[in-house]
Symmetry: C2
Subunit: 506 residues, 2 copies
Amino acid sequence: MSGKTEYSPKMQALFERVAEFSDLEGIMALLGWDQQVYMPPGGAEERGLQSAALGRILHEKFATEEFGQLIADLEDEIGDLNAETDVARSVKVIKRNYEKQVKVPLPLLMESIKAQTMAHEAWVQAKARSDFSIFKPHLETIVDLRKQYVELFQPYDHIYDPLLDDFEPGMKTADVKEIFDKLRPQQVELLQAITEKELPDNSFIKQPYKEDYQDLFGRHVITCFGYDWQRGRMDVAPHPFTTGFGLGDVRITTRYLKDDVGSALFSTMHESGHAMYAQGVSEKYKRHPLGGAASLAIHESQSRLWENIIGRSKEFWTYFYPSFQMLFPEYLAEVSLADFYRGINRVEPSFIRVEADEATYNMHIMLRLEIEIGLMEGTINVGDLPEIWNNKMQDYLGITPPDDARGVLQDIHWSGGMIGYFPTYALGNLASVQLWEKLLQEHPNVPDEIAQAKFDTILAWMREHVHQYGAKYDPQEIMIKATGSKITPEPYMAYLRKKYAEIYDL
Amino acid sequence: MSGKTEYSPKMQALFERVAEFSDLEGIMALLGWDQQVYMPPGGAEERGLQSAALGRILHEKFATEEFGQLIADLEDEIGDLNAETDVARSVKVIKRNYEKQVKVPLPLLMESIKAQTMAHEAWVQAKARSDFSIFKPHLETIVDLRKQYVELFQPYDHIYDPLLDDFEPGMKTADVKEIFDKLRPQQVELLQAITEKELPDNSFIKQPYKEDYQDLFGRHVITCFGYDWQRGRMDVAPHPFTTGFGLGDVRITTRYLKDDVGSALFSTMHESGHAMYAQGVSEKYKRHPLGGAASLAIHESQSRLWENIIGRSKEFWTYFYPSFQMLFPEYLAEVSLADFYRGINRVEPSFIRVEADEATYNMHIMLRLEIEIGLMEGTINVGDLPEIWNNKMQDYLGITPPDDARGVLQDIHWSGGMIGYFPTYALGNLASVQLWEKLLQEHPNVPDEIAQAKFDTILAWMREHVHQYGAKYDPQEIMIKATGSKITPEPYMAYLRKKYAEIYDL
């Protein structure tokens, strides 16, 4: 932390406390990473207890009256200091986190951690057997605990607001609904136009590509993007994710499927986007209140930028397809660049969110938001979820999942108590294009640069306008500063229309 | 923990506290494992701070007056309860650890952690450049801090006692000296007899064996031994080690050298011995005061058993050599079993402890013990270490290291403040054979079983007589219970004489 000496003793005490929290949160993240990546099965029980022990320590250290008093004193101390200064912002961010923590009684916290551990195990089983009844009682408990949690934040405008705010600070349910209401008819209209056309072939993607060459190519691509291997690494895990143990160690995972080369490829690019955001936070925010991220939507704007806007673009493949073709001649020797590009951009209603194309992805999110709001409002019962899910899939995408594993049981989020998370995926899609359009206005040459595997203009722009600030600004502030507007669906829809008009000759 | 309900509320409070310590110590071990195995360079600074933060929490939670009072109350409560019961032993072990912790002021602890972090970095550099002057000031600080530490344990018989006791509870410097005094002339005599004979060829070992087949063979062997992969894993690290995060997750590492197939092979067996000990502790000691190990010497007795007594035996290779030959025909097709066996048991004075053969290994330890005692007594100055080291090498082994990297700088221990650790290696060698001889008396068929790759009698015997007890008994108690005697050099020397008489025709 630079300029330590300027601070008052109390301010210094605050920063030192936060540095310690940051150390302990880094440790917590390592426990989770290892659990998903390398832990043998026998370690599960003790690992759960280790995470719980550390979680309790974090809560006990953070949610104290004395710490609340320190924050209050510092609010007085900074008084009318410019609200844009790091110090003022730090106190604001700490206060917000503190108030969320201190409201939660330790028994509710520990009960929630326990319920989530059990719900996760049940969900894994339920999904494997495609049997929702195994998961049902656990999800009922989760929803009940989330309702107890939300009640601690009375008064609110909407019962879903406190949940959403945990992932997207400052965002209201009404804001999301407004955005989604504008988005929905446009997405439906575009999808209808596309489905009248012939589907491009993508059978060459659905082949058993050699894993070591997939790994080679994925690492090559994200190295070109600018992922810093000195401060990170990539491993294999059942579900791709990004995690960080500090500014100096931001790791990603990927997974290789036997029948789809796109899975590892695009999720590696996706996770590298998350990781480059975390690696791009200003060094001065190391072990600092502002060392995190603005929100999940801003995070997702970065991952989707590299995965979709860049990674599924014609310019990207103009440069990289020859290398890709060289590695996999058995599947690609006869496939032209044009056909490959059309293949990886094939639009088709499908059951699984994480495999959805750009034109249908947001529909998966809208469906989940409606269900989550219904669960919290009490208008939807957990027991009716499979039927409701399937009906909504039919409404939105015109298809019905053949089983619950490919329906209501597909996502891990609810088993971990993460209700309120899904909307950030769609908001991130919108934000990604909004930032991209602004970048393009300032640097119209960027597509040509991509076609030469030059990504430094893009990364530098994102560093300057998004990454460096860490958690200093709220997500909508970031968007306004960077693009002049809050998150809005127009750029995204314009981007989709233009892209698919060309591919599908609309 | 079984039978929880029988305990008094205070006893239950004690066990709950210890369970939490155990969770946090498991986390600390994970931080270390990841640091050595997978952490990218950029993570080092924050990892150091994370370990320090957790270390501070452990100290603050453990070294409290209130906890000391709880222990004192429980000593009264158990009163004249049989000292052999788990409860009585648990209180004894906790009290010993508590008294060690509480005597160390937090500033000294934190200064030591910091000094060790810096000394480790300096040692890495010094070793790489073979320049002792880089390490010298750091080692001076380490020795000074160790002296401050030892003073907290006045009165003692010998200044080295408190250090030794940290690794080998109950063992005194005088005990070790007595054992080494008996051992030294016999080791020297045996070595002289061997060096008059012709050296067996071992050039076929010093070849660039394929790493993936080395990995295959190593995993196969320790699977046969009985290492439980459900509760562990093996990774590659610069230095082989074993670590555990609980009874359910005990991991090992190995390393593959480009010019010596023996390195990974024997260190994999070695570490599996440590790990099977940790995996063999009774399930009832999970997150329990007795869940650790008796001592480092007992630990080393297990690792050396599998590495040397079994792994370098004729019986072992009678079974495994055909498989090994199949994997590496390019180096072994023309090498007979007899020549291979002689090659891996070649005796030759050498510079590096970890690569020393069974006949010279203990000399490396005796040299280090003399130096450590001299440093603590103040009769040896850090600045004179390179010269003293080289002179002692000439005395003991008749060779002089060509540089300090292969001399005084070779070991990591001192940079981590671990003075008092080395003697446990030699004690472990002695204990390994002492246990082995007892096992052979009871199960004379065991060598034949080894020749059929049957290791369950051995593992079951060690489980019964050593592993299951965890930290319940002090090391010498374990040895007396299992073999009828404290650690003594006779069985070891008899074993060496017999083995080398045959190989070298003495």
